[in-house]
Symmetry: D2
Subunit: 108 residues, 4 copies
Amino acid sequence: MSHKQHQQLIDALQDCIVACNHCYDACLKEEHVQMMTECIRLDRECAEICSYLAQALCRDTPFAAELASVCAAICEACGNECKKHEHEHCQKCADACFKCAEACKKIA
Amino acid sequence: MSHKQHQQLIDALQDCIVACNHCYDACLKEEHVQMMTECIRLDRECAEICSYLAQALCRDTPFAAELASVCAAICEACGNECKKHEHEHCQKCADACFKCAEACKKIA
Amino acid sequence: MSHKQHQQLIDALQDCIVACNHCYDACLKEEHVQMMTECIRLDRECAEICSYLAQALCRDTPFAAELASVCAAICEACGNECKKHEHEHCQKCADACFKCAEACKKIA
Amino acid sequence: MSHKQHQQLIDALQDCIVACNHCYDACLKEEHVQMMTECIRLDRECAEICSYLAQALCRDTPFAAELASVCAAICEACGNECKKHEHEHCQKCADACFKCAEACKKIA
């Protein structure tokens, strides 16, 4: 499948990368950072795998399905953690993660 | 500077990542791949530094200026190489690289 | 599991990253680069996933098993392709890939 | 310059990647994580640029000097922050960062 056919997923991945890195940054600036450590950890993990997968899809990787499957699992874990916190950056991140997980599952 | 203020650059970086990886993939499928080796090499280099910088900006890196300066140099080198080749993927990639280099220079 | 317990795998991943990037570079300099395009493509894919996994293990990712499983599959694909070519850089890369695939499977 | 000639730097970068990711993980597990936020942030930044540079050197990037210069600056910033904290993981990370910064400067 060419990178054009993956366009919807690539868009979802790029949105998720931005949301996760922004949430990571904002969590590190929160007063109660102690409560945000799992969020920080998963934000990084999620941003890194999304960044990897976005690039891999654009270069027509033969491992799209396997990588999308792992990416979906990490996006869901990050979304579930973010969902617990009321901060706007966490809620936005959760939305981006769940959308990305759905898009990943279509090719996984 | 927050990631919102960097939005234009982040958009340019994300477009450049897609264009470079697509050009890389298409170059490897060209009949005369021998003539495309420098393009392949620079496409990868450019995609990787853009991907790094996009993430770093979203997490409010304190090294935005230094990284954008290196990224601008790599984008220009890639754009100059791609510009030499008539393939549509190379011309599109050159455009994305030059736009990204300009956006990088604004914060470098 | 801590990063100390993963030390053998981290070493194998780091060796594989070096071997794959060297093979990638050497393939692009070969006279008959047309025959090396699949090798170039897989060298990059393999180096990138190994680099991702090495970092993820060092930071105690909760997704070690899933990521190691994908990494093993990519290492094997790269090793199988490299094995076909007589160049010393390809043979060395194949060895590093197969060792890394074995190490990945222990935690996958 | 070939990847063999860069071997000392590649070793220093790989050690620094491990130390930074371990310190990042350990900081997130510390009781007083509030005091470690700058360390967490710089550990990630440093690990990511070292990982990028290690790969770029192995594939004989034409941008070794520029990238090593930025990497040296980030390693020093991370080392200076880690040095302030008494945790063993911070002190070890500071050592790895300063060694890596020195090695970077030789080719910058």
